[in-house]
Symmetry: C2
Subunit: 133 residues, 2 copies
Protein backbone atom coordinates (compact mmCIF):
# COMPACT_ATOMS: atom_id res chain seq x y z
CA UNK A 1 0.00 0.00 0.00
CA UNK A 2 1.56 3.29 -1.04
CA UNK A 3 2.21 5.92 1.56
CA UNK A 4 0.63 9.21 0.62
CA UNK A 5 2.81 12.13 1.60
CA UNK A 6 1.04 15.44 1.65
CA UNK A 7 3.24 18.50 1.88
CA UNK A 8 0.39 20.56 3.29
CA UNK A 9 -2.36 19.54 5.75
CA UNK A 10 -5.70 19.15 3.94
CA UNK A 11 -7.36 21.54 6.34
CA UNK A 12 -5.21 24.43 5.12
CA UNK A 13 -6.29 26.18 1.94
CA UNK A 14 -3.76 26.10 -0.91
CA UNK A 15 -1.74 29.31 -1.21
CA UNK A 16 -1.19 30.10 -4.87
CA UNK A 17 0.63 33.35 -4.25
CA UNK A 18 2.98 34.87 -1.70
CA UNK A 19 2.50 38.52 -0.80
CA UNK A 20 5.96 38.51 0.83
CA UNK A 21 7.70 37.92 -2.52
CA UNK A 22 8.54 41.22 -4.23
CA UNK A 23 7.61 39.98 -7.72
CA UNK A 24 4.45 37.98 -6.87
CA UNK A 25 1.38 39.25 -8.76
CA UNK A 26 -0.72 38.73 -5.62
CA UNK A 27 0.72 42.06 -4.46
CA UNK A 28 -1.04 43.96 -7.23
CA UNK A 29 -4.34 42.27 -6.32
CA UNK A 30 -3.84 43.23 -2.68
CA UNK A 31 -3.13 46.80 -3.81
CA UNK A 32 -6.39 46.94 -5.77
CA UNK A 33 -8.66 45.63 -3.00
CA UNK A 34 -7.01 47.74 -0.28
CA UNK A 35 -6.72 50.94 -2.32
CA UNK A 36 -8.49 53.98 -0.85
CA UNK A 37 -11.37 53.98 -3.32
CA UNK A 38 -11.31 50.32 -4.35
CA UNK A 39 -11.89 49.13 -0.79
CA UNK A 40 -14.82 51.51 -0.26
CA UNK A 41 -16.41 50.53 -3.61
CA UNK A 42 -16.24 46.82 -2.74
CA UNK A 43 -17.94 47.30 0.63
CA UNK A 44 -20.70 49.52 -0.83
CA UNK A 45 -21.51 46.98 -3.52
CA UNK A 46 -21.93 44.26 -0.86
CA UNK A 47 -25.18 45.98 0.09
CA UNK A 48 -26.56 46.36 -3.44
CA UNK A 49 -26.03 47.09 -7.13
CA UNK A 50 -25.24 50.77 -7.71
CA UNK A 51 -24.89 53.23 -10.56
CA UNK A 52 -21.78 55.33 -11.09
CA UNK A 53 -23.41 58.49 -9.75
CA UNK A 54 -24.66 56.69 -6.65
CA UNK A 55 -21.17 55.38 -5.89
CA UNK A 56 -19.72 58.86 -6.39
CA UNK A 57 -22.24 60.36 -3.96
CA UNK A 58 -21.68 57.73 -1.26
CA UNK A 59 -17.88 58.01 -1.24
CA UNK A 60 -16.82 61.34 0.24
CA UNK A 61 -13.92 63.00 -1.54
CA UNK A 62 -13.61 60.73 -4.59
CA UNK A 63 -13.19 62.32 -8.02
CA UNK A 64 -15.01 60.96 -11.08
CA UNK A 65 -11.66 60.07 -12.62
CA UNK A 66 -10.40 58.11 -9.59
CA UNK A 67 -13.72 56.30 -9.20
CA UNK A 68 -13.78 55.29 -12.87
CA UNK A 69 -10.20 54.06 -12.64
CA UNK A 70 -10.88 52.05 -9.47
CA UNK A 71 -13.97 50.43 -11.01
CA UNK A 72 -12.03 49.50 -14.14
CA UNK A 73 -9.24 47.83 -12.15
CA UNK A 74 -11.70 45.85 -10.00
CA UNK A 75 -13.61 44.83 -13.13
CA UNK A 76 -10.38 43.63 -14.76
CA UNK A 77 -9.56 41.50 -11.68
CA UNK A 78 -13.00 39.88 -11.93
CA UNK A 79 -14.48 41.40 -8.78
CA UNK A 80 -17.00 43.73 -10.37
CA UNK A 81 -19.56 43.27 -13.13
CA UNK A 82 -20.38 46.32 -15.25
CA UNK A 83 -23.79 46.08 -16.90
CA UNK A 84 -24.82 48.55 -19.60
CA UNK A 85 -28.54 48.85 -20.36
CA UNK A 86 -29.35 50.08 -23.91
CA UNK A 87 -31.51 52.98 -22.76
CA UNK A 88 -31.13 56.62 -23.78
CA UNK A 89 -28.97 57.72 -22.09
CA UNK A 90 -27.39 54.29 -21.38
CA UNK A 91 -27.81 53.12 -17.80
CA UNK A 92 -24.66 51.58 -16.30
CA UNK A 93 -24.80 49.48 -13.16
CA UNK A 94 -22.04 47.97 -11.04
CA UNK A 95 -22.39 44.81 -8.97
CA UNK A 96 -20.11 42.24 -7.34
CA UNK A 97 -19.24 38.89 -8.93
CA UNK A 98 -19.17 35.85 -6.58
CA UNK A 99 -15.37 36.33 -6.34
CA UNK A 100 -15.91 40.02 -5.58
CA UNK A 101 -18.38 39.17 -2.81
CA UNK A 102 -15.80 36.93 -1.17
CA UNK A 103 -13.06 39.52 -1.10
CA UNK A 104 -15.48 42.35 -0.23
CA UNK A 105 -16.56 40.48 2.90
CA UNK A 106 -12.96 40.41 4.13
CA UNK A 107 -12.55 44.11 3.32
CA UNK A 108 -15.81 44.90 5.12
CA UNK A 109 -14.63 43.05 8.23
CA UNK A 110 -11.53 45.26 8.21
CA UNK A 111 -13.24 48.61 7.53
CA UNK A 112 -15.92 47.76 10.10
CA UNK A 113 -13.28 46.99 12.72
CA UNK A 114 -11.51 50.28 12.00
CA UNK A 115 -14.78 52.23 12.29
CA UNK A 116 -15.56 50.56 15.61
CA UNK A 117 -12.13 51.16 17.13
CA UNK A 118 -11.11 54.56 15.80
CA UNK A 119 -11.70 56.33 19.13
CA UNK A 120 -9.33 53.99 21.00
CA UNK A 121 -6.72 54.43 18.28
CA UNK A 122 -6.98 58.24 18.29
CA UNK A 123 -6.62 58.27 22.09
CA UNK A 124 -3.48 56.19 21.77
CA UNK A 125 -2.06 58.57 19.16
CA UNK A 126 -2.67 61.54 21.46
CA UNK A 127 -1.04 59.84 24.44
CA UNK A 128 2.02 58.96 22.34
CA UNK A 129 2.21 62.56 21.22
CA UNK A 130 1.97 63.86 24.81
CA UNK A 131 4.65 61.48 26.09
CA UNK A 132 7.02 62.76 23.39
CA UNK A 133 6.40 66.47 24.12
Amino acid sequence: MPVVISSQPKSLPIREGNVYAANCPSRSVLDHVTSRWGSLVLVLLLARTLRFGELAREIGGVSQKMLAQSLQVLESDGFILRTVYPTKPPKVEYSLTPLGREVAQHVQALTGWVEQNVTTILEHRENMQKSQD
Copy 2:
Protein backbone atom coordinates in the same frame (compact mmCIF):
# COMPACT_ATOMS: atom_id res chain seq x y z
CA MET B 1 -45.25 48.91 30.29
CA PRO B 2 -42.90 51.24 28.39
CA VAL B 3 -41.94 50.44 24.86
CA VAL B 4 -38.21 50.42 24.44
CA ILE B 5 -37.11 51.81 21.10
CA SER B 6 -33.56 51.02 20.23
CA SER B 7 -32.02 52.90 17.33
CA GLN B 8 -29.54 50.12 16.75
CA PRO B 9 -29.94 46.39 17.39
CA LYS B 10 -27.80 45.33 20.33
CA SER B 11 -26.18 42.63 18.25
CA LEU B 12 -24.53 45.23 16.00
CA PRO B 13 -21.27 46.75 17.20
CA ILE B 14 -21.18 50.53 17.61
CA ARG B 15 -19.53 52.34 14.69
CA GLU B 16 -17.46 55.21 16.01
CA GLY B 17 -16.14 56.28 12.63
CA ASN B 18 -17.30 56.38 9.04
CA VAL B 19 -14.79 55.56 6.33
CA TYR B 20 -17.16 57.06 3.72
CA ALA B 21 -16.80 60.55 5.21
CA ALA B 22 -13.92 62.44 3.61
CA ASN B 23 -12.73 64.01 6.87
CA CYS B 24 -13.16 61.02 9.22
CA PRO B 25 -9.89 60.02 10.94
CA SER B 26 -10.82 56.36 10.49
CA ARG B 27 -9.55 56.78 6.92
CA SER B 28 -6.01 57.37 8.09
CA VAL B 29 -6.17 54.24 10.28
CA LEU B 30 -7.43 52.23 7.31
CA ASP B 31 -4.55 53.63 5.25
CA HIS B 32 -2.01 52.50 7.84
CA VAL B 33 -3.26 48.92 8.20
CA THR B 34 -3.76 48.41 4.45
CA SER B 35 -0.53 50.10 3.36
CA ARG B 36 1.85 47.91 1.36
CA TRP B 37 4.38 47.41 4.16
CA GLY B 38 2.10 48.01 7.14
CA SER B 39 -0.22 45.17 6.16
CA LEU B 40 2.66 42.72 5.68
CA VAL B 41 4.26 43.72 9.01
CA LEU B 42 1.00 43.12 10.90
CA VAL B 43 0.52 39.63 9.46
CA LEU B 44 4.15 38.63 10.15
CA LEU B 45 3.92 39.73 13.78
CA LEU B 46 0.81 37.57 14.26
CA ALA B 47 3.14 34.57 14.12
CA ARG B 48 5.75 35.89 16.54
CA THR B 49 7.82 38.76 17.93
CA LEU B 50 10.47 39.85 15.43
CA ARG B 51 13.52 42.08 15.26
CA PHE B 52 13.91 44.84 12.68
CA GLY B 53 16.37 42.84 10.59
CA GLU B 54 14.11 39.79 10.62
CA LEU B 55 11.17 41.83 9.38
CA ALA B 56 13.33 43.38 6.66
CA ARG B 57 14.45 39.94 5.47
CA GLU B 58 10.94 38.48 5.40
CA ILE B 59 9.37 41.30 3.39
CA GLY B 60 10.65 41.24 -0.18
CA GLY B 61 11.40 44.66 -1.66
CA VAL B 62 11.05 46.80 1.45
CA SER B 63 13.68 49.45 2.17
CA GLN B 64 14.98 50.09 5.69
CA LYS B 65 13.51 53.57 5.56
CA MET B 66 10.02 52.44 4.52
CA LEU B 67 10.00 49.64 7.09
CA ALA B 68 11.04 52.00 9.90
CA GLN B 69 8.36 54.48 8.87
CA SER B 70 5.65 51.78 8.72
CA LEU B 71 6.61 50.44 12.15
CA GLN B 72 6.51 53.95 13.64
CA VAL B 73 3.03 54.65 12.27
CA LEU B 74 1.66 51.31 13.53
CA GLU B 75 3.28 51.94 16.93
CA SER B 76 1.67 55.39 17.10
CA ASP B 77 -1.77 53.88 16.36
CA GLY B 78 -1.28 51.43 19.23
CA PHE B 79 -0.97 48.27 17.12
CA ILE B 80 2.70 47.55 17.70
CA LEU B 81 4.88 47.43 20.79
CA ARG B 82 8.55 48.34 20.40
CA THR B 83 10.74 46.88 23.13
CA VAL B 84 14.34 48.00 23.53
CA TYR B 85 16.64 45.74 25.54
CA PRO B 86 19.62 47.52 27.15
CA THR B 87 22.23 45.26 25.60
CA LYS B 88 25.26 46.35 23.58
CA PRO B 89 24.28 46.89 20.84
CA PRO B 90 20.65 47.46 21.96
CA LYS B 91 18.26 44.72 20.88
CA VAL B 92 14.94 46.04 19.54
CA GLU B 93 11.93 43.76 19.20
CA TYR B 94 8.52 44.36 17.66
CA SER B 95 5.33 42.61 18.75
CA LEU B 96 1.57 43.14 18.44
CA THR B 97 -0.58 44.71 21.15
CA PRO B 98 -4.00 43.12 21.80
CA LEU B 99 -5.52 45.81 19.52
CA GLY B 100 -2.89 45.02 16.90
CA ARG B 101 -3.70 41.32 17.06
CA GLU B 102 -7.35 42.08 16.35
CA VAL B 103 -6.72 44.17 13.27
CA ALA B 104 -3.91 41.88 12.07
CA GLN B 105 -6.30 38.94 12.04
CA HIS B 106 -8.60 40.81 9.64
CA VAL B 107 -5.64 41.78 7.45
CA GLN B 108 -4.41 38.17 7.46
CA ALA B 109 -7.82 36.92 6.34
CA LEU B 110 -7.60 39.33 3.41
CA THR B 111 -3.98 38.62 2.39
CA GLY B 112 -4.62 34.89 2.75
CA TRP B 113 -7.67 35.08 0.49
CA VAL B 114 -5.67 37.01 -2.12
CA GLU B 115 -2.84 34.45 -2.01
CA GLN B 116 -5.31 31.60 -2.43
CA ASN B 117 -7.19 33.16 -5.35
CA VAL B 118 -4.48 34.93 -7.33
CA THR B 119 -4.49 32.34 -10.14
CA THR B 120 -8.22 32.79 -10.78
CA ILE B 121 -7.79 36.55 -10.77
CA LEU B 122 -4.83 36.48 -13.19
CA GLU B 123 -6.79 34.24 -15.56
CA HIS B 124 -9.63 36.72 -15.49
CA ARG B 125 -7.27 39.60 -16.26
CA GLU B 126 -5.87 37.70 -19.27
CA ASN B 127 -9.33 36.90 -20.63
CA MET B 128 -10.39 40.53 -20.29
CA GLN B 129 -7.24 41.56 -22.14
CA LYS B 130 -7.87 39.05 -24.95
CA SER B 131 -11.49 40.12 -25.37
CA GLN B 132 -10.33 43.73 -25.79
CA ASP B 133 -7.63 42.93 -28.36
